[in-house]
C-alpha cells in the first residue's frame, strides 16, 4: 500500500537520492486491491479536509447572517446581509485595533528577525570559548515556561513606565529569541566558509560579511522567522491582556476578547457581532499563510525533524 508513494509520484528531495526499489512481485489481484485502497485513502482525506476547513467557512458564512440565523448551520446564508460588519464597525474601534496590531506585529517580527539573525550568526560563524556554554543556555531557555517570567517582566516594564503602551509587546524581541536563534543558526551552519574568508582578505568588516553575504544567502530562513513571529505576535492574547488597559490601545485579539465579553456569553448574546469580529481577526492570518505558504510548511518540516 505504501509503495506508490515513491517512484510514481512527487518525490521529496530527500527520497530522490534513494535508489529505485527493486521490481515488485505483485500482479493482478494485489494491484486491484492497491487501487481500491488508494481510493479509500483519498476519500478519507477529502472527508477530513471538509472537517478541517468547514469551521472557517462556517464562521465566514455566519458573519453574513442576521441574528436569528447565525446558528442555522447553512452553508450559504438564507438572507445575506452586511449589517453585522456595520454593527461591529460602529460598536468597536476596529480600524484602530487593526492599526495597532499591524504596527506591533511589524515591529515585533522585524526586531526578532534581525536580532536573532545577528546572534545566530555569532554562534554559527565564530569560534570562542564561551560559545558552547552560551548556546546551551539558549537552548535551555526554550524549555522555560513563559508564565515563570511573566510577573517580573511586567514589573520591569512597569518600572519603566511603559505599561499601557505597545512597547512591552515588541521591545523584548530586540534581544533575539531562542527558537529563532536555533533555527537560523542551522541555516548559517550550512553556508560554505570560503566566500567569507575571501571577503575578509579583501578587507571587508565582520558586519559586511554578515549583512552583505550571510543574510542574503539565508533569506528564506529570515522570511520564515518573520512569518512565524508575525503570526505569534498577531494572535497573542496573554501579553495584550497584561499590558493594555485602554480600549484604544488594544490589539485585535484583545479587542475580540472585549467584544466576546460585551456581546457573547457573559453579555448581550449577540453572536453575530462576535462572529464577525472573529472573522476580521482571522482573515489577515489566512492571507499571511497563503502569502508565505511555502515558507510555513517547509519551515515547520525543518524545525520538527531537525529539531
Amino acid at each position: 500500500m505504501s509503495a506508490p508513494a515513491t517512484g510514481t509520484t512527487t518525490v521529496p528531495a530527500a527520497a530522490a537520492s534513494v535508489p529505485m526499489p527493486p521490481p515488485r512481485a505483485v500482479r493482478g489481484d494485489d494491484r486491484r486491491r492497491r487501487r481500491w485502497l488508494r481510493g479509500v485513502v483519498v476519500a478519507a482525506l477529502v472527508a477530513l479536509t471538509v472537517v478541517f476547513v468547514y469551521p472557517l467557512v462556517w464562521l465566514l458564512s455566519a458573519s453574513f447572517k442576521p441574528r436569528s440565523e447565525v446558528f442555522d448551520n447553512r452553508l450559504v446564508p438564507a438572507h445575506p446581509t452586511l449589517q453585522n460588519y456595520l454593527t461591529v464597525w460602529e460598536s468597536a474601534p476596529l480600524a484602530l485595533w487593526l492599526g495597532n496590531t499591524l504596527v506591533v506585529t511589524a515591529l515585533a517580527a522585524t526586531a526578532v528577525t534581525v536580532s536573532s539573525a545577528l546572534v545566530a550568526w555569532g554562534f554559527a560563524h565564530y569560534r570562542f570559548r564561551a560559545r558552547g556554554p552560551l548556546f546551551g543556555l539558549v537552548l535551555a531557555t526554550m524549555m522555560l515556561p513563559g508564565a515563570v517570567t511573566l510577573i517580573p517582566t511586567f514589573l520591569i516594564w512597569n518600572q519603566l513606565g511603559l505599561v499601557g503602551t505597545h512597547v512591552p509587546l515588541w521591545a523584548g524581541n530586540l534581544f533575539g529569541s531562542a527558537f529563532y536563534i536555533f533555527l537560523l543558526r542551522q541555516f548559517f551552519l550550512g553556508l560554505p566558509r570560503e566566500p567569507f574568508e575571501a571577503a575578509r582578505l579583501d578587507g571587508a568588516s565582520e558586519w559586511t560579511l554578515f549583512w552583505r553575504i550571510a543574510v542574503p544567502l539565508c533569506k528564506p530562513a529570515m522570511v520564515l522567522t518573520f512569518l512565524f513571529e508575525a503570526q505569534a505576535s498577531w494572535t497573542d492574547l496573554m501579553r495584550p491582556l497584561v499590558y493594555l488597559q485602554d480600549s484604544a490601545t488594544f490589539t485585535v485579539p484583545r479587542g475580540l476578547k472585549a467584544v466576546i465579553d460585551q456581546f457573547g456569553p457573559g453579555g448581550e448574546s449577540q453572536w453575530e457581532v462576535v462572529v464577525t469580529a472573529s472573522v476580521i481577526t482571522t482573515v489577515p492570518m489566512i492571507l499571511l499563510f497563503f502569502a508565505g505558504q511555502r515558507y510555513f510548511v517547509q519551515g515547520i518540516s525543518t524545525t520538527g525533524s531537525k529539531g
Partner: protein
Amino acid sequence: MSTVPGAVVPGLPTRPGTTRAGRAPRGRLTARARHERNAGLAFVSPWVVGFLVFTAWPILYSLYLSLTDYDVLNDPTFVGLDNYRRMAADPQVRLALWNTLQYTVLQVPLYVVVALALALLLHQAGRARGFFRTAFFVPKMTPPVAVGVLLLMLFNGQYGLVNKVLAVFGIDGPSWTTDPVWIKPGLALVSLWGVGSAVVILLAALQDVPQDLHDAARVDGAGWWRRTWTITLPMISGALFFVTVVNTIAAFQMFTEAYSAYFGAGNSTYSNDAALFYVIYLFREGFQELHMGYASALAWLLFVIIMLVTAVQLLVSRRLVYYEGDQR
C-alpha cells in the same frame, strides 16, 4: 533527524582541526583568535543582554517575590514561606492542578495519535499530498481567541453544529460548553483542529524513512501494519517525541482558548471552575487580584512541574527513541 535540542549542546559542529586553531599553548590567544572571539561575542551580545534582563533576573526576582506579599502599589513585604503554605492549602490550586492534569492526560495522547494517523494517511496520498497538507494546516493560523469563539458556537449543546451532526447518527450530544464534565473534552477536541503543524512535522519525518527498508520487509512478506510498527514508527520516533514534549508543555500552559471562552477580562468577571487551568489561575491571581507574590509562588511550582515532566519524558525517550546516526 540526527539531533534533539538537548543533544546538540555537547556536539557543536566544529570543523575538524580548526576548533582550537590559533590558540597559543596556555590560554593566551593569538591576535586573530582574539579578533574572532570579540566579533563572536559582539554578535551574540544582544542575546546575552536580553537573557540577563528578561530571563535570568526575572527568574531570580520571581523567586524572591514568591517569598513576599506584593500588590505593585506598596513595597513587597517579606513573608517567608507563607505563600507556599497557602498554596498547599488553597482548594483553587488543587482544582487548577487537577483540571490541568486531566486536560493534559486527555489532550496529549489524543493529539499525538490523531496527528500520526493523519500523517500516515497523507503519506499515502501521492500527488495530492501537498493540497491536503495545506488544508490540514490552514486552521492552525486561526487566532486562539477566535478558536474560543468557534468552541462556544460549534460545540453549543443546543444549537451547535457538532451536536447536530451527532444527532444524524442518533447520538444525543452533551452540553460541551456548560456541563463541567464535558468542558475539558470539548477543549481537547477543539485543540485537534490545530493538529496541522504536528502533521507537517510527522509527514516530513515519514518522507525521510528510507524506502528500501520497506521494500526489504515487503519481500520478506511483512504487511502494512507490521511494517508500520516495526519500521515506520521506530524511524520517526524522534519526531514523535518532539511533538509529544512540545505539546505536553503547551497543554500544561493552556490559557488562551479556555480564557477567551470561559473567563471575563477587564470589567467582566464571569468565570468557570471547570475551565480553571493553572496558568489562568496564576494570571487572575497576579493581574486581576494583584497578588504578585502569591502568583510568583504559583509560577515557581509550574516551573518545577514542567521541568520534572520534561525530564521524565527525556529519560523515557532514551529507551524508546531511535536517532539515525546516533553516537550513543
